[in-house]
C-alpha cells in the first residue's frame, strides 16, 4: 500500500514537472535578460533549501488558515493531510531537476535548425513541438527520471504538509520513519530495500538516457 501510493505520488509529481518544468525551461533558455539568472536561482532553491523549510512554506501558504487557504477551500482543493499535498511537496522538491536538465537540453539545440524550420514555413508552436522538443527530449527524459527518483524519496516536506495518515498519505519514506520510531526494524528493512532498488533502477535509466551517453558509446 505505501509503495502504490508512493508510485502514484511520484508519477503525478513527475508529470506535473514535465509540463511546468519544460515550459519554464524553454522560456528561460530563450529569454534574453539579466534577470534570467536571478529567476533561475530562485527556481533552484528547492534543491538546496531544507525540506522542512519547503514544508513550512507549503503549510503557511496552503494550510486551512494559510495565506491561500480560503481561496483553495473555495476551489475545493485540499492539500494538508491529502495525497495531493504529497504531490505538491514532491513536485516542489523535484522541480529544479527537470527545469535544469530541460534548460540545458534546449540551450544545446542548434538555433540554425530552428531558423531553418521557420524558413520552411513552420509556425512557432510547430517549431517547438517538431524541432526543439524532439531534439531536447533525451535530456528532458533524463531530468524527469531524476525527478521521479527524488519524488520517490521525498520525506521532510511531505511529512509536514501531507502528514502521516496510514493508507492515505503514508508514503514509503514516511512509513519507514514511523516503523523505525516504533522499533519495527523488520518492516522498515523491507521498505528500505524496496525504495533503494526502485531508486537505483530509476537512476540507471536516467544515466543511460543522459545526453552524452551516446557519444561515449559510439566511436
Amino acid at each position: 500500500m505505501p509503495l502504490a501510493l508512493t508510485l502514484k505520488v511520484a508519477l503525478w509529481a513527475t508529470a506535473i514537472n514535465l509540463v511546468l518544468g519544460v515550459a519554464v525551461a524553454f522560456g528561460l533558455a530563450r529569454w534574453r535578460s539579466p534577470a534570467r539568472e536571478v529567476v533561475d536561482s530562485v527556481l533552484t532553491l528547492p534543491l538546496v533549501l531544507p525540506p522542512t523549510v519547503l514544508g513550512y512554506y507549503l503549510l503557511v501558504l496552503f494550510g486551512r488558515r494559510g495565506v491561500f487557504g480560503e481561496w483553495l477551500d473555495r476551489l475545493g482543493i485540499e492539500l494538508v493531510f491529502t495525497w495531493q499535498g504529497a504531490v505538491a511537496a514532491s513536485t516542489l522538491v523535484a522541480f529544479p531537476l527537470v527545469q535544469k536538465a530541460a534548460r540545458a537540453a534546449f540551450e544545446a539545440v542548434d538555433p540554425q535548425l530552428e531558423d531553418a524550420a521557420r524558413v520552411l514555413g513552420l509556425r512557432e508552436a510547430s517549431v517547438f513541438f517538431r524541432v526543439c522538443l524532439p531534439l531536447a527530449a533525451r535530456g528532458i527524459t533524463a531530468g524527469a527520471l531524476l525527478a521521479f527518483a527524488r519524488a520517490l524519496g521525498e520525506f521532510g516536506a511531505t511529512l509536514m504538509i501531507a502528514g502521516n495518515l496510514p493508507g492515505r498519505t503514508q508514503t514509503l519514506s514516511v512509513a519507514i520513519y514511523a516503523a523505525v520510531q516504533a522499533g519495527d526494524d523488520r518492516t522498515a528493512g523491507v521498505m528500505v530495500a524496496v525504495i533503494s532498488v526502485t531508486c537505483v533502477a530509476a537512476l540507471l535509466l536516467a544515466g543511460w538516457l543522459a545526453p552524452g551517453h551516446l557519444r561515449r558509446v559510439r566511436p
Binding site: G63, R65, F81, N164, L165, P166, Y177, Q181, G183
Partner: protein, 248 residues
C-alpha cells in the same frame, strides 16, 4: 611546525568542553518547557554541570538509548516506554521513580469550528480529522487509544486519525486549525491556551504518570542521580507545577 599553535588551540578547545560535565537528559516531548526550566535551575545550583536536553517522543528516545546514544537520564511520558527500557537493560532499574502526573484532554482549535463537546462528538461527520500521537511510538497516542477503546470509540475515531510524531505536533495541528480536534496532555494544551480550547478531560484506563531513571552505563551516573534527585525534590516539583504537572 606551523600547525603547532593550531593543534594547541584544538587541545585547549577539547579540554575546555571536557572540564564541565555535559549531562545529557533525554525527556519526553511533553516535558519540553518544564525540563528547560528544571535544567536551568539545576545548572544554577551545580555550576560545573551543563544540562543538555534532548526532546522527542518517548519511544524515539528509547530507541536512541537502547542503540547506545550517550544519554545519562531518561524521562518518559508513560510506563510502557520505561518498561521497554528496563527490559532492554537500557536503564538502571534501581533508580526508576515516578516524578509527575498529567492528564489527557480533548482539544479543538480556538472557536471550535466543528462544535465538538466530547469524545462522542468526534463521530459527527463535520469532524473529518483528529490528531493524536502515533500509538506505536508516542505515549500520548497510547493513552488516547486506550481511553477511546474503553469508550468504544476507537474504531470511528482512528478512521479520521492523523498520526503525529510526538504530542507537540498533534498540538500544532490543532492550533493551526488543520484538524477539527486532537488529543494532547493537559500541560500541552495549557501552553497554547490562546489558540486551542480544552473541551473535555479524558479518563485514561491507566493514570498518566511520568517515570525517570538513570541510563545504564552512563558516564556521569552520579551527576545523573543528582539531577534525578533534584527533579523529585520539593524544588523540582515546584517548577513542574508551574507548567501544570501534578505530583505522582
Amino acid at each position: 611546525m606551523r600547525l603547532r599553535p593550531f593543534v594547541a588551540l584544538l587541545l585547549l578547545a577539547a579540554s575546555g568542553s571536557a572540564a564541565a560535565a555535559d549531562l545529557v537528559v533525554s525527556a519526553a516531548a511533553s516535558l519540553t518547557d518544564a525540563f528547560q526550566a528544571v535544567g536551568k535551575a539545576y545548572e544554577a545550583k551545580h555550576p560545573g554541570t551543563h544540562v543538555v536536553l534532548n526532546f522527542a517522543a518517548s519511544d524515539v528516545l528509547l530507541r536512541q538509548i537502547s542503540s547506545g546514544a550517550p544519554a545519562d537520564v531518561f524521562a518518559s511520558a508513560d510506563q510502557a516506554a520505561m518498561d521497554q527500557a528496563a527490559a532492554a537493560k537500557a536503564i538502571d532499574v534501581s533508580t526508576r521513580r515516578d516524578f509527575a502526573r498529567n492528564g489527557l484532554v480533548l482539544i479543538v482549535p480556538e472557536g471550535d469550528p466543528a462544535k465538538v463537546a466530547s469524545p462522542e462528538g468526534l463521530r459527527a461527520s463535520v469532524v473529518r480529522r483528529v490528531a493524536y500521537g502515533d500509538p506505536a511510538s508516542v505515549p500520548a497516542g497510547r493513552y488516547t487509544k486506550a481511553a477511546l477503546e474503553q469508550q468504544g470509540l476507537w474504531e470511528s475515531v482512528s478512521a479520521k486519525g492523523v498520526l503525529a510524531q510526538n504530542v507537540r505536533q498533534a498540538l500544532d495541528y490543532v492550533a493551526r486549525g488543520e484538524v477539527e480536534a486532537g488529543f494532547v496532555f493537559a500541560t500541552d494544551a495549557h501552553l497554547m491556551r490562546d489558540r486551542v480550547d480544552v473541551v473535555a478531560d479524558v479518563a485514561t484506563p491507566t493514570p498518566v504518570t511520568y517515570p525517570i531513571a538513570v541510563v545504564a552505563g552512563s558516564k556521569h551516573a552520579r551527576e545523573a542521580a543528582a539531577f534525578e534527585d533534584f527533579v523529585v525534590s520539593a524544588e523540582g516539583r515546584k517548577i513542574l507545577a508551574v507548567f501544570g504537572f501534578q505530583a505522582p
